[in-house]
Symmetry: C2
């Protein structure tokens, strides 16, 4: 577990996910598309921040590649692309982003970093406990990117903000992030 | 010129563009990012349309790759990333997208296709008349993608709509597209 996370994922999440691998795969597809969308939106909002634009272009490209890969898994399992209700996690984190600059940029980067860190942890659990070896291997193959993305978001937060301010805010947000996951969402999702 | 375009680009545009290659490069960077954004937005709006999602994922990835390449050109010429006012072209075309389905999907695909066709034509003019051979070569290298993207958008329009309806609407939109470019925008832009 990336040490920024305050609470590890509960075992009940693993049981729920393993029992509904197809839904988890479909939700995972949505997560990758959303992650690409978030990176692109930040590039649109801060078009002159060269470092941010460069790093997030790379992240967006990689998320789209993963999106394609997950969709190939869906196709192989004959799972049609379909909308899926979102757990409160993403909206709960988004609500913590303060609306005025420079807080908005800092919070946006930290929230994205936390989501990547949590995704890294959960894909790791899927890699470990998924009963299908090939699918488990796929989850394992994605983990390194999630960890790297967490690192990129943290470095950008550190670039565009005072380090102590960023650290303190990350601490606050990490607490809320774990709280948001303390009650298991009844539907199987990557972030339930 | 892809034969969907009703009017070829006026020579005054070529003169304006060649005289302001740095601004054209910066605007081009914005165009590539916007093109990726448009593809991703369509994927968000129609997440269950498998063909659309698959094709537009590939397009979005490629636009982001071009965005990176254009940004490398900017860096090499020490042009900082900066916002740039948009010519009326994009907003003018967007205003033609009818708000209710299935028209909205059809119009969105056709408008994107027309923009790709026009970009193909204009990058071709830059490739031909740009006085810097290496930059001209770069423009030439992008042309094939633009033509292919036009083809993808047309095939999707044909997939999700009746062919005669799509053809007739493309004809209408193509006339408006040329009208939007009939007066040269005073600032040098890819779509001025």
């Amino acid at each position: 577990m990336i040490n920024v996370l305050k609470q590890p994922t509960n075992w009940t999440w693993v049981e729920q996910a393993i029992a509904h691998l197809n839904v988890i795969l479909l939700d995972h597809s949505h997560c990758e598309r959303k992650a690409a969308g978030v990176a692109l939106n930040l590039m649109f909002r801060y078009p002159s921040n060269t470092q941010l634009v460069r790093q997030l272009t790379a992240i967006a490209r990689e998320e789209l590649e993963h999106f394609e890969q997950v969709n190939q898994w869906l196709e192989r399992r004959s799972i049609p692309l379909a909308p899926l209700s979102s757990p409160p996690y993403g909206a709960g984190l988004k609500a913590l982003i303060r609306p005025s600059e420079p807080n908005r940029l800092l919070d946006s980067l930290l929230v994205s970093g936390l989501i990547e860190a949590r995704s890294h942890e959960r894909l790791g659990l899927l890699a470990e406990y998924c009963p299908e070896p090939e699918l488990a291997e796929f989850y394992r193959s994605l983990m390194a990117s999630e960890a790297r993305h967490y690192g990129v978001y943290w470095v950008l937060a550190d670039t565009y903000s005072d380090r102590d301010v960023a650290k303190e805010r990350l601490e606050e947000l990490a607490i809320r992030e774990s709280e948001l996951l303390s009650t298991l969402y009844p539907e199987p999702r990557i972030h339930s």
